[in-house]
Symmetry: C2
Subunit: 430 residues, 2 copies
Amino acid sequence: MGKQFLEITEKEEVEKLIADLCVKLAKKIAAEKQIVKIEEALGRIASTDIFSPRNIPPFDRSTMDGYAVVASDTFYADENNPSTLIIKGYIQAGESPSQSECLEKGYCIGIATGAPIPKGANAVVKVENAQEYRDKVKIYKPVAPAENIMPAGSDIKQGEKILRDGTILTPKETGVLAACGIYEVFVRKKPSVTIISTGNELVAPGEDLKPGKIYDVNAQTLRDSVIGCGCVPLFLGIVPDSLEEISTKLKESLATGADVIIITGGTSAGVGDVLPTAIEGLGEIIVHGVDIKPGKPFVLGMVQEKPIFGLPGNPTSALISFNLFVNPLLRAISGNHSHNREEVKRRIRAKAALRIFSEHGRNEYVLVKLAKKEQTPKEGFVYPILSGSGAITTLSNADGYIFVEKGKGIIEEGEEVEVELLHHLFTPPY
Amino acid sequence: MGKQFLEITEKEEVEKLIADLCVKLAKKIAAEKQIVKIEEALGRIASTDIFSPRNIPPFDRSTMDGYAVVASDTFYADENNPSTLIIKGYIQAGESPSQSECLEKGYCIGIATGAPIPKGANAVVKVENAQEYRDKVKIYKPVAPAENIMPAGSDIKQGEKILRDGTILTPKETGVLAACGIYEVFVRKKPSVTIISTGNELVAPGEDLKPGKIYDVNAQTLRDSVIGCGCVPLFLGIVPDSLEEISTKLKESLATGADVIIITGGTSAGVGDVLPTAIEGLGEIIVHGVDIKPGKPFVLGMVQEKPIFGLPGNPTSALISFNLFVNPLLRAISGNHSHNREEVKRRIRAKAALRIFSEHGRNEYVLVKLAKKEQTPKEGFVYPILSGSGAITTLSNADGYIFVEKGKGIIEEGEEVEVELLHHLFTPPY
C-alpha cells in the first residue's frame, strides 16, 4: 500500500491539477451565501446581483439655493427688467412641500439645495440672480424648464442593477448601497481553512520549552497567510507524528466543515510517511512529492471533495509550498483576486549581486534580499540568503525569491533575474 | 465673530498644514502602546524593539537523518575502508539526549533531522553514507567537525534584536516571534476616528424614508475609508444642522477619546456656517475653505490638540476631500504607509478620450472612468464622468480622478493626463 504515490510529480503538473481544483471548488463555495449588515460588508464579495429598491434621488431635488418657480415667469427677465414674484414660503432640505397646494404663476418658493421641488414649480432660480424685498423677489435672469433640478431617479432608477454578483465591496460600493437605503447584503461565505501542525518536537509559543523541543512557527505564518488570502483560519493544534493521531485530527478537521485542510510536518521525516497513509484511509492521494527545492515533500489529497495540503515542516519550505500551491487556490475560492491585479507589483526584474549556485537537476527557489540604496552594488541587485532553508531568519530576511529552473546550475554575477516579491503575498485583501 | 476665517486657503497651504500636523500627531500616537497576542498581531505595528529571549535553535541540532559521531572516527573512511562504529542508541526529533553520558570514540548514535546532538558528538554522517548491520554501522565517507550540525543560536542569538520598533507585522515577522516563543507583543494603538453626519434631510439606511429625506451615504463611505487607513471608526450618528446639536456632538466625540473627528455637512449650506462656530466655541479654526472643486467648503479645526475635519455633505466631494487631506493624516498616524509604497500602483498616465472642460480659475478634480478593452478608443484613455458631483453614481462609476490646475480651463481630446486611482485608496492595510 502506498507505493503507487511515491512518484514525484512535476511542478507544472501540480499547478494544472490545482487550477482544475480551483474552478470546481470556487463554484461550490461561491454558491454559499451569508447575509451581513453594510457596516460589516467592507471587503466582502456580493453573492447576488443587487437592484435599487427606489429612485435616487427619491424626489425632484433642487441643486441650488434659490427660488422654485414656474420657468415661463422668468423668460423675459433681465438686469433692467426683472420679473417680480410673490414668495409663498420657504422650504429647507429635509422638509416636505405641501402636496395639496400647487405653485401658480406669479408665485415662487424659497428653496435650499437638496430640498424637494414643490408641486407646480419646474425650475430653480439661483439666489445670486434674485433679490428679495419684503414678501417678493426680483428675478434678474431667466431659467429654462428643468434648470437646477435633479429629477427623481436620474442618479439611480428604481429596479436598476447597482451591483453585480461577484463584486468586491469597497467604499464606492457600500456607499451606493447606503444611498439606496440597503442595510443588509448577501455576500459569499469566507472559505474556512483548518491548520494542523505535526511534529514530536513542536511546542506552541507561550509554552515551556523542554530540552529537544522547538517552537512551532508554521501555525502562525500559515494562519496569517490564510487571512491574507481572504479566508478564515482555524488552528487545531499540534499533534505527534503518529498515524492514529493524524487520522483523528483529519476527521476532526472534516467535522468542522472546513473547506480546505492544511497540515504541516515536523522537521522529522514523519509526516512524509504517515500523512499519505492517513489520507488514503479517508480518501485519495493526488500528489506526493514535487520536483522543487525546497518544498519537495508536498502532499495533495482529496477527502470528501475537500483538498488536504501536506506541507513540509521547515518554515521556509512550508511558506514557499503554500505560496506556490495553496495561495492560488485560496484566493480563487475566496473570490478575492485583488492581488493578482495589475495594481500590485508582484514581480520585479533585478540583477544577481553575486554568483548564485543551485542544485543541478532540481527546480530551485532561492530566497533573496534586495540591495539597499546605500549598498554597493546598489538598488536593482539581489543577494541570495545563504543561511539555509532550516533557519527562520532565511525567511524573515527575504524580500522575495527567484526561481532557478532545473538544469540551470548557476546564475552568474550581474545576470538578470525575476524576483517574486513576498510583500504582495503578505498584503491581505481586507 | 467668524469673519476672520472666511478666507479661502490654497490647496498647497492646506497640505503643508496637514503635513506638519502629521508629524506632531504621529509621534504622540506612536507612544500609545497596547499588548496583543501574536494570533491577533497580523498587520499591527511593533511599538518597541523586540529581542529574542533565547537561542534559535535552542540546541545544537542535526540537519540530516544519520549518525551523530566523533568526527575524527570517520577521517580515513572511504568506500573500500569504512569506519565501523557501535550504535549506542537512537534519538528522534523532540527527544532529549542524556546529559550525563558522553559519546566516546568508536561509538555513534542514530539521529533524526531536528534532533539534538548528543554530548561528545561533533558531526553527523548522512544516512546515505552509512550502512547498519546488527548493533553497528559502517561509515563510508568522512565528515568534518561541525558537519551537518546547526549550532545553538546560529539562526538567532539570545538577546539579538529580531524586530525594530515601527515594523508592520506580516507573516514573516509573526513567524519570527513564534520561533522565539514570544506569544504577546507590544503594538501601537490603532488611532480612533469618530464620524458625525449632519443634515436635516439625512436618514440612516434601514430606516423609513419620509418625504424630502435622503439616505446618509457619507457615514458608510467614510467609515470604510477610515478602516482602509488602518484606523478604527466610530460613527456617532446623524445630527441636525443646529449649533447646539453639533456642539454637543463634538463634545461627545472628544469624550470618547477619539484621536480625530470627521464631520460631514448635509447638502444644505448649514454646516458651512454652523460647524466653524461650533469649533470656535471649543478650540480654533485653522482652515475654512480650500481653492478646489469639488471640496471647497472644507474645514480644519483643532480642539484639545485633536484635528476636526469638516467635509462637504455631497458624497463625491466628501470623498475627494477625505482622500486629499484626511487620508494622508490617518495613514501617517496609524503608522501604516504601505499604500504609499512602490508596490502599489497609485497613478497611471492616460489620454483624454474627449475634450474635458473645467472651471477656469478653480483647481478642479474630475472623476474619470478608464476605457475598457473592447471600447474605441481603447485602454489607455479616460472619460470624464458627467453626472455631476451630486450623483452617487459619479463616485461609483469612477476609476479615479484627474487634477486640472487653476487657470487651465480645457484638456484637449488625446491630451495626456495623470489619473489618481481610487483602487489604492480603497485597499486597506490589514
